[in-house]
Amino acid sequence: MATETRTARGASVPGGSSFSLSDPTVRAVVYQILVVGAVVLVGWFLISNTLDNLARRSIATGYSFLEREAAFGIGEHLIDYSPKDTYGRAFLVGVLNTLKVSIIGIILATIIGTLVGVARLSSNWLIARLASAYVEIVRNIPPLLQLFFWYALVSDGLPPVRSALNPLPGVFLSQRGLIVPAPSADPVWKMMGIAALVAVVLTIAIRFWAKARQAKTGQIFPVGWTALGLILGLPLVAYIAGGAPVALDMPVLKGFNFAGGMVISPEFFAILTGLTVYTSAFIAEVVRSGIIAVNWGQTEAARALGLPSGPTLRLVILPQALRVIVPPLTSQYLNLTKNSSLALAIGYPDLVSIANTTLNQTGQAIEGVTMIMGTYLSISLSISLFMNWYNKRIALVER
C-alpha cells in the first residue's frame, strides 16, 4: 500500500523536475492522495479483518445464498412468489413492497400536505386553526406510535372476518382489511396499459412540438387538454376495442378468509396511512413557507399586467414558491421512504422485514445489512437525483 502511495505521489507531480512542497498546487494534490490512501487503507483493514475473523469462526460469507430456496412465506407480493423461490426473489418482493408504499405514500402525502399547508394560510379562522392543530399534533408524535395506532384501529376496531361490514355489494371491511371486487383477468388490461404508455410518449412529443411552434409563431397550443384527452382516451379506445369486459371477480367468504377480489391488508393500510399522515404534516409546513416566501407584490404585478388568476398562480407564484419548496420537499420524500422500514413492527413485508428474515435463516448478518443499506441508498439517491434535476429546472435563472 505504502509503495503504491509513493508511486502515485511521484506520478502526480507535473513535470517531475519542479517538485516542491511549497507549491500550493502540488501540496494540495499530495495531501489529497495521502487522505485517499489513508481512507482506502482503513477500509481495507476493516474488511480484510472482518473476513479473516468470520473465516476463523467458520461463519459463511458471500452472496451465494441469494440463489438458494427461501422456503418462507410472504404475506403480500406484487410479483409471483412462493416459498419455492429463491432468497433473491424474496428480497425483490420486499424491495417492490417498499417502493409500493413509498410511491403511493409520497403522492398522497404531497396532496394532503399541500392542502393542509394552503389551509393553514386560509383567512377562514376555523380552517386555519384546524390545519395548525393537525400539523402540530401529527408532527410531534413519533411515527412508530402512529403506526401502532393505525394498526390497532384496524385490528381492534373492526369486526372479525365472519361478521365483516358490507357497505356495498362485494365490498367487505373487517380485521382482515378492505376487500373489494377486482376486474377478472382479461388481455384487455394489458392492452390498456400499453395504450396509456403510448399516450404518455405522444404527450411528451406534442409538448416539444408545441413549444417549438410557440417559439416560432407565438401561437399557443392547448397541450394540457390534448394530454388529458390522449391519456384518458387511448386506453378507453383499447378497452372498447377489446370488447369492454365487465366481469368482476367478486370476493366470497370461503373457509377462513375471503377468496377473490382485491385486498388492502391492515398492515399496508397502517403503514401507508401512518407514513402519509406523518409526512404530510411536514410537507404542509414546507408548502406554507414556500407560499409565504413569494412577495405579495408579485401577485399585484401579475394582475396589473392583466393576467387572470389561473396563469398568475401557475406562471408567477408557483414557479417562485417551488424554488423554496422543492429542496426541503426532497428531504421529506427521503424521510418517508426511509421511515417505511418501521413496517417490520406491524408486519408489513417490506425489504427490511424480508432481509431480516433472510439474514436470520442464513446467519449472514453482514451481507443482509449491506443489502439493506445498498438498496435504501439506491432508492434515496434516485429520489435525490430526480428532485435535484427538477429543482434545477425550476430554479431562478440568473443572468
Binding site: N53, I59, P83, S155, F256, T362, G363, V369
Partner: protein, 339 residues
C-alpha cells in the same frame, strides 16, 4: 427492528475489533467477574423478567448453572434480552458468552452461523393454536388460514414446509416482537398462531382472561430441540457450558436435589463421589472448581426441579415432562457419564 439492525452492524464492528484476542473465554469471564447470557426478552417459563427485574425461566436457570460452575454464585451474571433477530449477531460478536434463548438446534446454525450447541435443555415441537370458536380439530383443516408468526425463527420455515407438503394455502402475518404478534392473534387479525408448543402454552397462560377459549391442535409439525449455544472457537468454554447442563440431568438421575445434596457428599457410590467432587478430578479437567457440580445442584437444582419450577404442571404453562422426562422414565433427557 432498529436494534436488530444495530446489533448486526455492531457485530460487524465487534468482529473486527476482536481480531487477535486469543485469551480463552473462561479467563475473560473470570476477570470480568460475571457471565453474559443472552435470553428471551419475555417468554414466561423460559426467559422473563418479573416486576422487580429478576429474571426467571428455564433458559435463565441453565445460564445460572454456568455462572455457579465458574463463580459459585448464581447472581454473577448479566442477562441481555434478545429478539429472535438479534440473537445470532449477539453471540457471533461476543456481546454474550452464552445464548440461552429457546433456540432450536439446526445444521445451518451449527455450521454457517458459527455456533456450537450444548445439550438440549428442552425437547419441543412446533404446533398451532386456534380459537375454539373456529371449530378446527386438526391442522389439516387450516387451508386458507391467516397465520401469525414471529419473524426470524425456524417456525417461519416449518410453517411454509408444512402447508406446502399438505398442498394448502396460507397467508402469513410476520411480526418481529413476540408481544405484538400475540396481540395481533388475540385481536383476531389471524386465525392461527404458530410457534413451539411450549411457547404457545406460555402465550395462552399469560393472557389475563379467556385462556380456555384457545386450543393447541394435536399436530406437532417439527422437531425443535432447544439448546444453549456458544460460538465456535473456544472448546474449553463449550465444555464448561455443556457439562454444567449435564450436571442437572445426571443429578436427577441419581435422585440428588438441591434439598438433599448434602446427604450425598459422603455417599458410598464412587460414581456420586466423583460427580460431586468429593473424589477430585472432574472439576480440574474442565478448569473449574472441583465442587462445581455440588454447587450447581445446591444453588440451581437438578433438571426436574428446574423444569417443575418454571414450566411444570404447577405453573401457568402446565407442561408435562413428556419427551423431557429422563431416559429412565421413557423420555429423551440423557447425559454422557461423569468419569
Amino acid at each position: 427492528m432498529k436494534s436488530g439492525i444495530l446489533a448486526a452492524a455492531a457485530a460487524a464492528v465487534v468482529v473486527t475489533a476482536g481480531a487477535g484476542a486469543h485469551a480463552g473465554l473462561l479467563d475473560t469471564v473470570k476477570s470480568r467477574g460475571f457471565v453474559q447470557c443472552g435470553v428471551n426478552a419475555g417468554l414466561p417459563g423460559f426467559g422473563n423478567p418479573d416486576s422487580a427485574g429478576n429474571w426467571t425461566g428455564l433458559d435463565v436457570d441453565f445460564c445460572r448453572a454456568v455462572a455457579v460452575a465458574i463463580f459459585n454464585d448464581p447472581t454473577k451474571i448479566k442477562f441481555t434480552p434478545l429478539s429472535a433477530q438479534q440473537r445470532f449477531p449477539a453471540i457471533q460478536s461476543g456481546e454474550v458468552d452464552v445464548l440461552s434463548r429457546n433456540t432450536t438446534v439446526t445444521l445451518t446454525r451449527d455450521t454457517s452461523v458459527g455456533l456450537n450447541f450444548a445439550p438440549v435443555t428442552y425437547y419441543d415441537g412446533q404446533g398451532f393454536m386456534v380459537n375454539k370458536k373456529l371449530g378446527v380439530k386438526s391442522a389439516k383443516e387450516l387451508n386458507g388460514a391467516t397465520v401469525c408468526v414471529q419473524s426470524g425463527t425456524t417456525t417461519e420455515l416449518n410453517l411454509a414446509d408444512y402447508f406446502r407438503s399438505n398442498n394448502m394455502e396460507y397467508k402469513p402475518v410476520v411480526i418481529e416482537s413476540e408481544a405484538e404478534v400475540n396481540a395481533a392473534y388475540f385481536a383476531g387479525r389471524c386465525d392461527v398462531r404458530t410457534a413451539d408448543v411450549s411457547d404457545l402454552a406460555a402465550t395462552r397462560g399469560s393472557v389475563a382472561s379467556g385462556a380456555e377459549d384457545h386450543v393447541i391442535l394435536p399436530e406437532v409439525i417439527s422437531k425443535e430441540p432447544l439448546a444453549p449455544a456458544v460460538r465456535h472457537g473456544d472448546d474449553q468454554w463449550f465444555d464448561i457450558v455443556k457439562w454444567s447442563i449435564n450436571v442437572t440431568i445426571q443429578a436427577e438421575e441419581f435422585g440428588i436435589t438441591s434439598k438433599n445434596v448434602d446427604e450425598f457428599v459422603n455417599s458410598k457410590n464412587p460414581d456420586i463421589l466423583r460427580f460431586l467432587g468429593t473424589t477430585p478430578g472432574m472439576g480440574k479437567a474442565l478448569g473449574v472448581d472441583e465442587k462445581y457440580a455440588y454447587n450447581i445442584i445446591k444453588k440451581v437444582g437438578n433438571y426436574g426441579e428446574i423444569f417443575d419450577r418454571n414450566v411444570g404442571p404447577a405453573t401457568p404453562l402446565k407442561l408435562e415432562r413428556g419427551l423431557n422426562a429422563l431416559w429412565t422414565k421413557g423420555g429423551l433427557q440423557y447425559t454422557a457419564p461423569f468419569r
